[in-house]
């Protein structure tokens, strides 16, 4: 659930010019190298990583030095508290929480923010990441490219997807399946349905979580569950009347009575405003046609070749115009076709997304052979740099490979 498809990666950043340092620094390589069957068409993870390092260098990527021990806060702040049980956390002498790097994307962003270089710039990495699992291995190889600062987002997305496939080809892998989705199209549909802003953000936030999304749609269709309000009668009247001054005063009184700090947390204005808006939103309903549009859209699951037709049919059936969002996706597909990517092995799954608030557009996973685990996860995350403290938004797109999943694609770990 964290990051792209458990497919964000990173490594002991070794400069590409010194591959021996990289290899020496990767202890489990010995294990991989000796336990994997040599010969045949399967390479060991070690061979694969050196091929990937060459590939990244060819593509003009730079490989920053990224420490194994990272500050834990940026990971917990962006990926959420749930990550805590999946990372290895320790402390330094003064009590700062540190963790073994669980991926490379956030460290790559932090590296860029700490020592900004001219953008656009492509960073690459290859090394070990550490994640807690109930059983089995906790050290994995990850490699990948993060592309920062390109304003030609369509072309950058296409390069990212094409390079992900090229990286697999460089590893000698050709039988792939790609699943992709695009949050921008979902956002366009929610906007086209004319729902109030509060409901739009709620639905967009749930995108990628089919159950949560279905629950919201059910609530919008059938009305709210649960009983009346717990707000006392007089105040409730002010809330229903939308009397901001009265509500704010009442909330401020409750806050000071409870001794809540006046600053640093939720304010009386914020609480009062949301209480009033919420009462208004409670009466929002989706009519049958709107609900059908949402569920028809989320059910779209077609090959890359048929995506255009499916979306056009959807627009016609529901008299909706998806505008630039749809055109953007089609343009990407067209460019991928020109680049020679096998769109018949791509599946456009409209509901494919991830519940992390920094993903913003295209998202994809690439599977090899019969594996049920993606060998690559990637996507656009234009909001991440800002979350990590960048003063200006920096568009970003990237992908991560799990080289160990290429060794024996038939295996399901």
């Amino acid at each position: 659930m964290c990051w792209r498809s458990q497919g964000r990666g990173g490594c002991k950043y070794a400069p590409f010019s010194e591959p021996t340092i990289f290899l020496n620094s990767y202890a489990p390589l010995c294990r991989v190298a000796t336990s994997s069957p040599q010969g045949g068409r399967l390479d060991t993870a070690m061979t694969l990583t050196s091929k990937l390092i060459d590939f990244f260098a060819e593509r003009g990527c730079v490989a920053p030095e990224i420490a194994i021990l990272q500050p834990a806060d940026p990971f917990l702040e962006t990926a959420g508290e749930d990550l805590r049980r999946r990372v290895f956390i320790t402390e330094n002498e003064v009590g700062d929480a540190l963790c073994l790097r669980p991926e490379f994307t956030i460290p790559a962003c932090l590296h860029h923010l700490a020592s900004p270089e001219k953008l656009p710039r492509r960073y690459a990495y290859c090394g070990t990441v550490f994640r807690q699992h109930r059983e089995g291995t906790v050290e994995f190889l990850q490699a990948g490219i993060e592309d920062f600062g390109r304003s030609d987002v369509v072309a950058a997305d296409v390069d990212c997807l094409a390079d992900a496939h090229a990286a697999l080809a460089a590893c000698g892998v050709d039988q792939t399946r790609t699943i992709f989705g695009d949050q921008a199209i979902f956002e366009a549909i929610v906007a086209a349905l004319g729902l109030p802003q509060g409901w739009q953000t709620r639905l967009i936030r749930a995108f990628g979580d089919d159950k949560q999304l279905a629950a919201y749609v059910a609530r919008l269709t059938d009305g709210p569950v649960g009983g009346g309000s717990s707000i006392e009668h007089e105040l409730l009247q002010h809330v229903t009347d939308g009397d901001m001054d009265q509500v704010e005063m009442a909330v401020a009184a409750k806050m000071s009575e409870a001794g809540l700090p006046q600053q640093g947390g939720r304010t009386a204005v914020e609480i009062a405003r949301r209480a009033i808006v919420k009462t208004r939103l409670a009466n929002t309903r989706l009519d049958k046609a709107q609900a059908a549009a949402l569920s028809d859209f989320l059910a779209i699951n077609v090959t890359g070749i048929d995506a255009d037709e499916a979306l056009t049919k959807f627009e016609r059936d529901h008299a909706l115009d998806l505008g630039p969002a749809k055109l953007g996706l089609l343009e990407r597909l067209e460019l991928l076709k020109i680049r020679g990517l096998p769109l018949e092995t791509f599946r456009y799954k409209a509901s494919f997304g991830r519940r992390l608030d920094y993903y913003s557009g295209l998202l994809f996973e690439i599977y090899v052979g019969k594996s049920t685990q993606p060998a690559i996860g990637g996507g656009r995350y234009d909001r991440l740099m800002t979350l990590l403290g960048s003063a200006t938004p920096i568009p970003a797109v990237g992908f991560s490979i799990w080289p160990e999943r290429l060794e024996n694609p038939g295996d399901v770990r």
Binding site: D82, G198, A206, V251, L260, G265, R266, E270, I271, R274
Partner: protein, 232 residues
Amino acid sequence: MTLVIGIPSKGRLKDKALGIFETAGLPITLSSDARNYRGRVEKHQRVEVALLSASEIAGELANGKIHLGITGEDLVRENIPHFEDKVELVAALGFGHADVVVGLPEAWIDVETMADLDDVAAEFRLRHGRRLRIATKYWRLTQGFFARHGIATYRIIESLGATEGAPAAGQADIIVDITSTGSTLKANQLKIPEDGVVLKSQANLVSSKTAVRDAGAYSLEAEIVSAVQNSL
């Protein structure tokens, strides 16, 4: 081989736990030396009773140091990672009732459900430059509960006592804590959202899955468990 049973070492939990065994026809005699923290079941010379704190009992059951024990379900679920693999809750004992709940400031009149809290948590960082903070000593239960409600955007502040004071002290925005009557929450002007009960806990007889038993200990344990179950 000896069968070791862990019993809470003090307070109401201890008295109630001793009462359970008494009712089951297995009265426990405690060592006359109060500092000894040991006891015996008269009927079964091969049973040893160890008086431990309720959270120690959960830990020792998980480690397999004791075979049976009486402790709170909240402690089992919170203190033992993947508790289903380590222990089995064999009987709910009908005392030690307490709920682990989400506590919000009463001033948050706009938050009545976990879905409301999800909205607030999602936009918290945008508004306040940081994630919503939850003070709790139940971080595992909290994570599981919030994940079930689809909420990931928050941070846990570990709290080792007086959790209910954290919002007023500015250490956290909300809390997850245990309450038996709700009076502490009320006194601190905190409220529980409609669907904000994380766990309804009570004292349980718990069996360790990791403790070693020979055939004798195994059948002795089965006998004791069914005596307790039948007496409830």
